[in-house]
Symmetry: C2
Subunit: 498 residues, 2 copies
Amino acid sequence: MSALAILKEKQLTLHHLQHATQYLSWDESVMMPVGGGNARANSLAKLQQIAHNLATSSEIGDLIEAAKEEASSPWDQANLRVIEQNWQRAAVIPDDLVVRMSLATSKCTQVWREKRKENDWVAVVPLLEEVVNLTKERATIISELFNVNLYEALLGGYETGITTDFVDTVFDDLASFLPDFVNEVIERQPAHLPLKGEYSDEDQKQLAEELMLSLGFNFERGRLDTSHHPFSCGERWDTRITTRFGADDFLESMYATLHETGHALYQQGLPAEHANQPVGKSLGMMVHESQSLFMEQQVCRSDGYIKFALPTVKKCLAKEDNEELWSFTNFVRNVRHVDKGKIRVQADECTYPLHVILRYRIEQAFLRGDLKVVDIPDAWNELMHEFFGLNLEGDFTDGCMQDIHWFMGAIGYFPCYTLGAITAAQLYQKYQNTFPAVEADFENGQFDQVLDWLRKNVHSQGQLTPAFERIQEVTDKPLSTAAFKRHVTGRYLDSLLS
Amino acid sequence: MSALAILKEKQLTLHHLQHATQYLSWDESVMMPVGGGNARANSLAKLQQIAHNLATSSEIGDLIEAAKEEASSPWDQANLRVIEQNWQRAAVIPDDLVVRMSLATSKCTQVWREKRKENDWVAVVPLLEEVVNLTKERATIISELFNVNLYEALLGGYETGITTDFVDTVFDDLASFLPDFVNEVIERQPAHLPLKGEYSDEDQKQLAEELMLSLGFNFERGRLDTSHHPFSCGERWDTRITTRFGADDFLESMYATLHETGHALYQQGLPAEHANQPVGKSLGMMVHESQSLFMEQQVCRSDGYIKFALPTVKKCLAKEDNEELWSFTNFVRNVRHVDKGKIRVQADECTYPLHVILRYRIEQAFLRGDLKVVDIPDAWNELMHEFFGLNLEGDFTDGCMQDIHWFMGAIGYFPCYTLGAITAAQLYQKYQNTFPAVEADFENGQFDQVLDWLRKNVHSQGQLTPAFERIQEVTDKPLSTAAFKRHVTGRYLDSLLS
């Protein structure tokens, strides 16, 4: 067997182990009764330890060097590039740190899930401290290896090539552009009749499934379920998304589902023939979020899409024939309502980046040691006041406990949402320039062309080229905030419905 | 570290891997979309391979010998006994046979699930042949190791200590007793108004959950779901059962749920402090089936239980106030109706053993090579005709494709159902002799005492003593058909409601 073949065989085993970890984690979030928590945490930690041992065994480095001589196809070469990257990041992490991290994050998310409901911040502090300390330990090791700062060491785990300099450039730009822009939009946006009301879970689920189908979600290779925090996971063959059905706000649930559907379409469109090797998996979370936001924001909040979807929404949900309430104009105003709210996942696309910037600043502070975990709520409230004029004192459930990320150890993840949003805008601008009739297609329920375009340019490419190169190749530009700012300005100011 | 400690550590790792395999298999049956089948099969095969390697690594034999000197507590000694048994059976099986078996059974059950609906026997034949051949290969190796016949080699994997001689003795006795007995019951049983009708899944689920709760099922450590074939799985901390809601026969679903609840109560009652070691797991499938049948047949078809359950059943399901239909007498007659039917899982407790004996004879024939897999339907129909006077020609769905067992490689399992039934009768007889007021307790919804008794005598004992010894200890008798025959005679002939 060649070195390349041996290496691929090992990656296949890793893939099978990741498969197990992934669906067991899905089960933990969606299905598992609370009593199963400890047993699940222990099993997951053991699987991760076995996978880590395999991924970092001493011969891997030599195999990679030898395989470089053998790899001739672009896919094999790219596969080797990804394998080497993963290996470099994994090999420096001691086995016991992997196990401690897995146990700490399982425990912390389980407690978070319970204590969040009770608005009990104090109860999660020691567990979150443990997660933060272990994350720092890991970040320190990686930062020394690549000679980067602690935060960048974490960023690199979510998307290859993101630097804190780039994040700072983007965030400084948006932090200076958005506050005045948001104020202007809020001042000028017309009034709307809220579409809030009582909609049953069954009706909302039917709506969700119909919309997923129309965008191209394949239910023979996927599922929709409910969970506390909407998420997507799984492989191309079995892609699972979750949503939550707000009893009084179906739009939140509907757009959460459309968001996760964007993620799922990416997974379902990965290249079949490479699906079990690293090169056949999705790029990092920046690109993944770009795919969800491409669907949720660019496609599904467009006039064309809303014209298409509204009859289905009415069929599933409208109990009374209130023409004004269910009119296109009122629906658009609901769907594009801009608001300084406290919840990130409920935020509109204009205020959303400010939620991310808030978290970015806090993460950096506690990673640097400038902010104690116990003091996160103070920093949170200060920034919520600065950005949105809100006072959240004493509200942890909808304050710093609203997101699962830190509790599950996903520190450094948040920037990917906003980098994903600017990527989505830049991709969509390119798509619209190529096919100007796009909104007419949406109105007619034609989503094949846009899905084909994403499949060709992003999904089917796996990790053949790294994220920033891919974006440049597809859009002919380096990634920047330009398309995003143009998009929100166009949608929220220039073409205001009045 | 002592040899015993090292051995226990290895068993703990195996336990964590089995945890993963178990819940991934549950997911496969209950949640997974069809497209995920291949990926799941490959992942399960890899996990089983890793577990097999670990379970049979060369130092285990020496560790067991050394640990025998160290084990002093009865639990440690029993743990070693079970570890040694498992190791002996596993160590002789080559690694690649484990993988081939895992892949073949995954594939075969996936195809069976689809093709059963289409009544397509021919499509599963080559896959089942593969499963049978691999099972023979495994059975041959074990039969040589223990110097037993092929069938007994398989039996030993389901319950330690069962011999084909014992099975033959029991089955010959029942095969001579039951046919005339069944004819007499059918002849003498009074008419009843069938409780069949349209009951919604939601109403049936509510009923199922209420009845599970009343028997002591702990929903903080378990779930109820639906699947094609009712089953139970999971550990003491997270015990999952499934049922199916027959649109036109709620009783089938209700008693399937009560059956699986019996299994689940056993799992939930296993000793917490040993739960992650082999000694803390349940005994074999004979005893497991005795626990499900103790609940389903002995407890839940008794007069006392029916008096207790009927108001709940009516509350959940009775749409119209038909006094005669929902009377105690009519309910009892429905619940104890004896019938020569074609479906094992719908069979009453009098005809059930004949369904098992039929399968036992066919399994023995195809294991010996006296019957080709492709010819199973002929043998099936011949025996169905002999036992029940039924002609099933061309009906595979409800004929030899009705059960998942052979397709998933569980050949040699069926006798456990009937051995479980006679065990349940013998245990119940002992319980009733100890607490004669038992039915009055049931009528009052008091199930604590019977659950405590099972917990003390069976559940909490784990594998501290082997099955046959345990039954003898608890009932002061070796296992026999006496209590079962007395039970069915008493319930179905002597105390016939007229």
